[in-house]
């Protein structure tokens, strides 16, 4: 069949460039490989030149592929499946980036993009490490490009799919009768971007996170290059700024994910221990362990082996996390996972390709990796730093163990193990992780603070003067900490001993880092980064403790004595009903649902909070505007977005969890109208109809009706019935004016209603012989207008953000310091 109005050129260019990008990455990998192994300088240089050229071609091809995908998306060419799935005619242009990386293919291209940028920087700066590092990077690119190849290999009826191509045509991958129409493109509209993802976080979070993912490959590549070339010590220095960069960016990406969840999603928190969150945190923890091992190796010569392993596993764990999110294996245990695409084996192959060879090299080289003969002293910094790195490793093992449950289940099923082997995630996931990670936090806060007062390469025994100094610094801080934490626990209502312990270690970390900054760091920029980073950890811990332990559902008050046995108040009393306009007491606040506005598919609520003093005076007043997003038919709510009032010391988080069913679903509203029961009444002038809460008098006819529903036409003969409704307890009157109309010799009724009283009127007949009218009246239930609201108070949550940002800034600061001092050394020499 000849199709018309298709735009096949961008697809053809894109397909060609994917293949070119794939082939050139293989060429780059081989050339840089040969350059690394070449003995003669001239051979090395020429291989390197070919490698650079091939990598440049690779980079340009991938950029063209990305441009082609953007082109078909911007122009809404729905003949391309990726455009069909991720954009729509009504999608705002500002969301085009979000739509691009919403899908698997787009996010792989984002990852490729960052690797190419990093490769560009490495080609200029890596000097003697360029060839091995770029060879490994190109090899990684071979695997990444294969994820968007979209090739099918057939073995009889079975087929094996390599990659998923972002430029496949809709008619090639989907089967629908619509494709029998040559002009089908004019009939279809795209699916658009998931409304949950239509916010600015989706624009900034994925690129940051993927730069974080991408950057973890640099320490990995240096580590493999070290093993490869046997220069076990030389790589430790150039890798450090890269590892610090990666730690800062990956950390920022994870933090942004938390902030997004907190600001824009409605699960009420910044960290849910979701598998996807966990598996981006674990590589970060291992990377931080690696940075510490790296510092030990540089400062004292120990831990070179650990540095190798930590950096290798950082990247492998990134691949593992990619596997978990993209293979569909997480299934019902995560809210973030992509849907499966039949690429599980390709992803497993990706992991194995970067796990087994480096480990093989490591064991092959193990004996030649240098380490000092003398054992490290317990008074040395390297000893305690190493313990800290082990604690991070320990934390990672515990987190990964639970997170990987779906993987064990899949393996058990594949091996035909009995059903009883299957394991499920713990019932209270958050509690499960918190209970174990609490100890990690305590250990890290104490070690990271105190170890800074120790020195590298310390003797086995210390002089009395040194001991005295240590005891003063650490001991006095501990005493002060105990005093301060006692006061905080007492005033802040921290009762459980676990929380007290966490509080103590958090306060200790803050105080000892302050002490360190004031007494040792002063203006020594080399030490400032680490002091800031560790101080941030202490602040973060205090923030986590208060915002978590003292988190309070403000929207309590509905259930009281009717509590169900075995369930806490928190289980059963989270939400409150707010009728419109009726101030409702909710904890310390008087809360009113003032009104709402619909703009497009978004309905924004105006919720007024008043805090009253004991004398009933308003101490404080503010409005919050949570909203809900309807689907395109306005029949369902797709997403509920919270709104939060921020204070320095607490946040009040509010979102709408429920609406009257008629507000949620317009179909239900229509059904309710259809099912109204009208009763007919025959009335003379002055007669009364009795309704449940009001009465209505027929006051007479009106030849000139003002009912807005009536649009007059020439030749019409309209008669309106003047109906006046009253209630017993007020003076107020309401008027209705249903019309009986003769138009082109047919009788019609034009209805009227009194919304406040829930009355609807029809006027089906005039009976001229006895001067009566037939009026049909129905009573609707009074219109229900309310919201079901959830409001949560998070005390001191700002400390979480401040602590994290400070830690990441510490990493970033150290990186800048190290790059600058390297430049200075080069300039000096």
């Amino acid at each position: 069949m000849e199709y018309i109005n298709e735009h096949l050129l961008p697809g053809q260019i894109g397909h060609f460039c994917i293949i070119l990008g794939f082939v050139s990455s293989i060429l780059a990998a081989v050339s840089f490989f040969a350059a690394t192994n070449a003995k003669e300088d001239i051979l090395q240089q020429s291989w390197k030149r070919i490698g650079r050229l091939a990598f440049t071609v690779h980079g340009i091809s991938i950029f063209i592929v990305i441009a082609c995908v953007f082109y078909v998306m911007i122009n809404s060419y729905y003949e391309y499946d990726y455009a069909l799935q991720h954009v729509s005619d009504d999608l705002d242009f500002k969301y085009i980036f979000s739509a691009f990386w919403e899908g698997q293919e787009g996010s792989f291209m984002l990852w490729l993009f960052w690797h190419i940028v990093l490769g560009g920087v490495l080609m200029f700066t890596a000097k003697e490490w360029e060839a091995p590092v770029m060879s490994i990077l190109s090899f990684i690119q071979v695997f990444l490009v294969s994820m968007i190849l979209g090739l099918y290999f057939y073995f009889g009826d079975e087929f094996f799919k390599i990659g998923s191509n972002p430029l496949v045509l809709t008619r090639d991958v989907r089967d629908a009768p619509i494709f029998s129409n040559p002009n089908y493109t004019s009939l279809i509209n795209g699916n658009g971007l998931n409304p949950l993802l239509q916010n600015y976080w989706m624009t900034i979070h994925p690129p940051t996170l993927f730069l974080g993912f991408a950057s973890t490959c640099v320490p990995f590549m240096y580590a493999v290059a070290g093993l490869w070339t046997g220069k076990h010590k030389e790589w430790l220095k150039p890798v450090l700024p890269w590892a610090l960069f990666s730690g800062a960016i990956l950390g920022l990406g994870i933090l942004m994910g938390g902030a997004w969840a907190y600001e824009a999603l409605s699960f009420g928190g910044y960290w849910a221990w979701d598998p996807v969150e966990n598996m981006s945190l674990v590589p970060w923890l291992i990377l931080i362990a690696g940075i510490h091992a790296n510092l030990i190796a540089k400062g004292a010569g120990y831990s070179i082996k650990s540095t190798y392993l930590f950096y290798i596993f950082t990247f492998v764990l990134i691949l593992y996390s990619t596997f978990l999110t993209r293979s569909g294996i997480l299934g019902d245990t995560s809210v973030h996972a992509f849907t499966e695409m039949g690429m599980e084996w390709q992803l497993v192959g990706f992991i194995m390709a970067f796990l087994i060879p480096p480990l093989g090299m490591f064991f092959y080289r193990m004996r030649s990796i240098p380490s000092p003969k003398r054992e490290e002293s317990v008074y040395s910094r390297e000893f305690w730093m190493f313990i800290g790195a082990l604690v991070l490793l320990f934390s990672s093992i515990l987190i990964s163990f639970t997170t990987s449950i779906p993987v064990y289940n899949t393996i058990f099923t594949a091996l035909d193990m009995p059903e009883s082997w299957q394991r499920r995630p713990p019932i209270d996931v958050v509690d499960h992780y918190n209970r174990y990670q609490l100890w990690i936090g305590v250990l890290l806060a104490v070690f990271s603070g105190a170890a800074q007062f120790l020195r590298f390469k310390e003797q086995d025994s210390l002089s009395n003067e040194r001991i005295g100094k240590l005891v003063r610094n650490i001991g006095y801080t501990a005493i002060l900490t105990s005093f301060v934490s006692f006061l905080i626990a007492w005033s802040g209502n921290i009762n459980a001993w676990q929380y007290k312990l966490l509080l103590w270690s958090g306060v200790f970390s803050i105080l000892i880092n302050m002490n360190y900054i004031l007494s040792v760091v002063k203006f020594n920029m080399k030490l400032a980064g680490s002091a800031m980073g560790h101080l941030g950890i202490g602040i973060l811990m205090i923030g986590v403790l208060f915002s978590g332990a003292n988190k309070d559902f403000v929207s309590r008050g509905f259930m009281d004595a009717s509590m169900i046995e075995g369930f806490t108040e928190e289980d059963a009393d989270k939400n409150i009903l707010l009728p419109k306009g009726l101030p409702t007491k909710m904890s310390d606040y008087l809360v009113t649902y003032v009104g709402d506005e619909i703009d497009g598919f978004t309905r924004t609520f105006n919720i007024n909070y008043k805090k009253l003093g004991d004398d009933g005076k308003v101490l404080e007043e503010f409005d919050l505007h949570p909203n809900v997003l309807y689907n395109k038919m306005m029949t369902k709510i797709e997403a509920s977005n919270p709104d939060t009032k921020h204070y320095a010391h607490k946040d009040i988080f509010t979102h709408v969890v429920g609406l009257p069913i008629s507000e949620v679903d317009k179909e239900v509203e229509k059904k309710q109208l259809d099912s109204l029961k009208y009763e007919t009444h025959i009335l003379k002038q002055g007669d009364t109809i009795w309704a449940t809460k009001s009465y209505i008098v027929f006051e007479g006819f009106n030849q000139k009706p003002t009912n807005e529903k009536y649009v007059s036409k020439s030749g019409d003969i309209p008669v309106a019935a003047n109906l006046v409704a009253r209630k017993m307890d007020t003076e107020k009157i309401w008027k209705a004016e249903p019309i009986y109309l003769i138009r082109e010799s047919f009788g019609l009724s034009i209805d009227d209603e009194i919304k406040e009283l829930g009355l609807k009127f029809k006027f089906p007949k005039v009976n001229p012989q006895d001067r009566t009218v037939t009026i049909a009246m129905a009573e609707t239930k009074p219109r229900q207008e309310y919201v079901v609201l959830q409001a949560i108070l998070f005390p001191w949550i700002n400390l979480v953000w401040i602590g994290c940002l400070l830690s990441l800034f510490g990493l970033f600061f150290s990186m800048i310091y190290r790059i600058r001092s390297k430049r200075k050394r080069i300039a000096d020499s």
Binding site: Q85, A176, I178, F386, L390, F394, L398, V788
Partner: protein, 133 residues
């Protein structure tokens, strides 16, 4: 023996103990009738929504009470009470994981995880719908 090895050994020991205690918490899903045997304990039950049975959510009466019927893995159908608001778009749910306990023949759930049909399948359905218009 080196001190770091000793500490490493201790950490491995703690890891093993921690992991073993963690495994205890990862009990498999149970059926309604298993949960009924121990009404004081919290369990996880997985199953399918009974779409033909009534769902009750009346926020005017209680915004924290939502009831519906679910069939567990053994096709046993029970009434479920969720102590929370009704989730958006609940009717389309395919699979439900409940956390809670059995009380007097009803399963009282304090939390619920739902799985909806994948976007890809929906896209297929949507295209077919357009085709037949």
């Amino acid at each position: 023996m080196k001190k770091t090895h000793l500490i490493g050994g201790i950490l491995i020991l703690i890891s093993v103990i921690a992991l073993m205690s963690m495994v205890q918490e990862m009990s498999p899903y149970v059926s309604f009738s298993d949960a009924a045997k121990q009404p004081d304990r919290k369990f996880q039950v997985v199953g399918q929504l009974s779409k033909d049975k009534e769902m009750v959510y009346n926020p005017e009466e209680n915004p924290n009470y939502f009831s519906f019927y679910m069939r567990d893995q053994n096709e046993e159908e029970r009434k479920v009470v969720l102590l929370d608001a009704k989730p958006q778009d609940f009717e389309r749910t395919e699979e439900i994981v409940l956390t809670g306990s059995m009380k007097d023949g009803e399963f009282i759930a304090s939390s619920m995880l739902v799985k909806c049909p994948s976007k890809y399948v929906e896209e297929e359905v949507r295209l077919k719908e357009i085709s037949y218009q």
